[in-house]
Point group: C2
Chain length 374, copies 2
């Protein structure tokens, strides 16, 4: 039996949106879902209890980081990632591919795998598809990702094509290596850059390998948003209906809505937590840079419509003071708010799909948020 | 009516220890009590809710810091410090004296007050006893401290004596300035350095001014612990029994126990939170530097006897990983633990006084903690 099962609850009649449930060894997830990112076995500034209290159902953790520190063997000895970090809901680990290509130094890509230097101490490492799966097996997440190459943006057609076929061969090797299919579901990653035929080819080839879920990779890497939406339009209609679809590394409010409309079920992004620590928050009326001087004596909550702990208890003036004074509580309060804002957005999106009002919800959200989708 | 009232519950027959209740406008505090320090209107890394969950009854905040940032007028506009920081239990503010002398630059002490440069931006400021009380009135803490000079250690007899008499004159001016006595209790500070006659003189003169509480200042500034204990032995027996006694800036576990034995009711210290962020924690078996490599694969809690959130849920290995990876959660977990350890120590001390077993408790604690009091 596969570790996970996707249950399609409802298809939106006017868009590609799907309402579903994803059953995992660590609970059932309502989709479309946003996954907070816990890069180093912790969602920055948050406890697992706080994540639960804001409605997080699944988090993502980064294989590249955990492999380098503290090492997957330590995590395995601790009883796996859930135990190690005290999180008993679902976890997804990426394969490390993206970070090897974006964070590490002096990488050397061969058919066998990738040699790279650690961004922490410059030490030399080699990760192959087999090695990536071994690491992910040791970490023990509910959903694990195949090792892939994410070409930079822009990349030319030939590079992208070669890379794509290698990613498909790597996916096959990942599948062969992965034995623990009853506890961990291995997803295939669809690459192909910004080229329609390559994306379509990628979907077809990946589907042949029959993974329990598929992600769309290689997006949100610098391309204009309309291109991202085009890629989704080319890709998701070809993906099987009975499997979850995950758009990697995407997460601004508008991209979440547009992704859902194009049939995506799962998202992750560091944006929410990263901008929070720098003093920027999402509100129902758009972004707010609470560090700015104009909020020094503003005793309103970050977002008057928000139900989060931060908005129920603290003022913009206080949060600004904390951020200016470099107090940890400042980062905590803005992080709680941004994650809750995003998770609540997903709740509203699911509700809108249920009520057949997703497009109306989108228009109202954009009008209020101050986002022009045209 | 005075803002606070000290209720003596029990005197220990074999030591100077007292069990009491301190009634304040924001709740009744069991004494002896440890006050976590919230320098910049936040106990570093903690929410007010977390402070309550570990049993904090009163916190301290620093007038010097709040005056410089965000400014006492902003805090007053926010409805006072309790409102500003979302803490509805008791607060004590110091007078800023200690920080003016220890943190700021180019201070110039005159009878009228002290001119100094901000440690944040070098701007020039003047604080007099009257100004300090104005600031503390604006902040609105339940207990406020008179503006004093804390001479450095070591300081000679003549300097200490002159400084002491100025501190007494300043205390008188503070008392004259402070009108809000029904909501805020003003404590006098006993200085006098490490000289017996000056300390005794200081107590006598301060008592004449009839404050609702008194603190012993100028200790834990570099002097050997036996000297600190001597000063307490000279001082507390002369202090009125119906008023609370506060030992400023003291807080290591042994000093808390020794202070209680010498008749102290209130303590504050940044030690717990500061060493926590650097990866050192108190345990029932002594200090533990959880950052050390020896704990890399240690899956036990920080302290197997501790009841805190950290010890109930996380391993030394995980906490070490978080600290090495500079994750905020690491500082949060160690801070929760160190504060809970200290508050629980005070609970045990109160219980021991109640059971007439304080000296036995001390000996057992030291034996286990690995502390030699001789």
């Amino acid at each position: 039996m596969e570790a996970i099962r996707y249950e399609l609850i409802k298809k939106d009649e006017r868009t590609g949106a799907r309402l579903g449930k994803l059953h995992t060894p660590h609970g059932t997830i309502d989709t479309p879902v946003f996954m907070p990112v816990g890069t180093q076995a912790t969602v920055k500034a948050m406890t697992p209890d706080e994540l639960k209290s804001i409605g997080a159902q699944i988090i993502l953790s980064n294989t590249y980081h955990l492999y380098l520190r503290p090492g997957e063997k330590l995590v395995e000895k601790a009883g796996g990632l859930h135990n190690f970090m005290n999180w008993d809901r679902a976890i997804l680990t990426d394969s490390g591919g993206f970070q090897v290509f974006s964070l590490s130094e002096l990488r050397d890509i061969k058919e066998e795998g990738v040699t790279f230097k650690s961004h922490i101490d410059g030490s030399k490492h080699f990760i192959s598809p087999e090695k990536a799966i071994e690491i992910e097996n040791a970490l023990g997440a509910d959903i694990i990702m195949a090792f892939d190459e994410c070409p930079p943006y822009p990349a030319d057609y030939d590079y992208t094509k070669n890379s794509l076929y290698r990613t498909i061969r790597w996916a096959e090797r990942c599948k062969k290596t992965h034995k623990n299919t009853e506890k961990q579901a291995l997803f295939g990653i669809i690459q192909g850059g910004m080229f329609k035929d390559l994306r379509q080819e990628a979907v077809k080839e990946m589907i042949k390998l029959d993974f329990p879920g598929y992600s769309v990779g290689g997006l949100s890497i610098g391309e204009p948003k309309p291109i991202m939406y085009d890629v989704l339009d080319w890709t998701t209609p070809l993906m099987p209906e009975d499997k979850p679809r995950y758009l990697m590394g995407v997460g601004s409010p508008d991209c979440l809505i547009e992704g859902v409309i194009r049939g995506i079920d799962m998202f992750d992004c560091v944006l929410q937590t990263r901008i929070a620590r720098n003093g920027t928050v999402f509100t129902s009326k758009g972004k707010l840079v609470v560090r700015n001087a104009e909020y020094a004596e503003d005793f309103r909550p970050l977002d008057e419509e928000c139900d989060c702990y931060t908005c129920r208890n603290y003022s913009r003036a206080y949060i600004r003071h904390l951020l200016k004074a470099q107090e940890i509580l400042g980062a905590r309060l803005t992080t709680i708010h941004n994650l809750r804002f995003t998770i609540r957005l997903m709740e509203k999106i699911r509700e809108a799909i249920m009520q057949d009002s997703l497009l109306e919800f989108r228009d109202e959200f954009y009008a209020k948020f101050g986002y022009n989708n045209n």
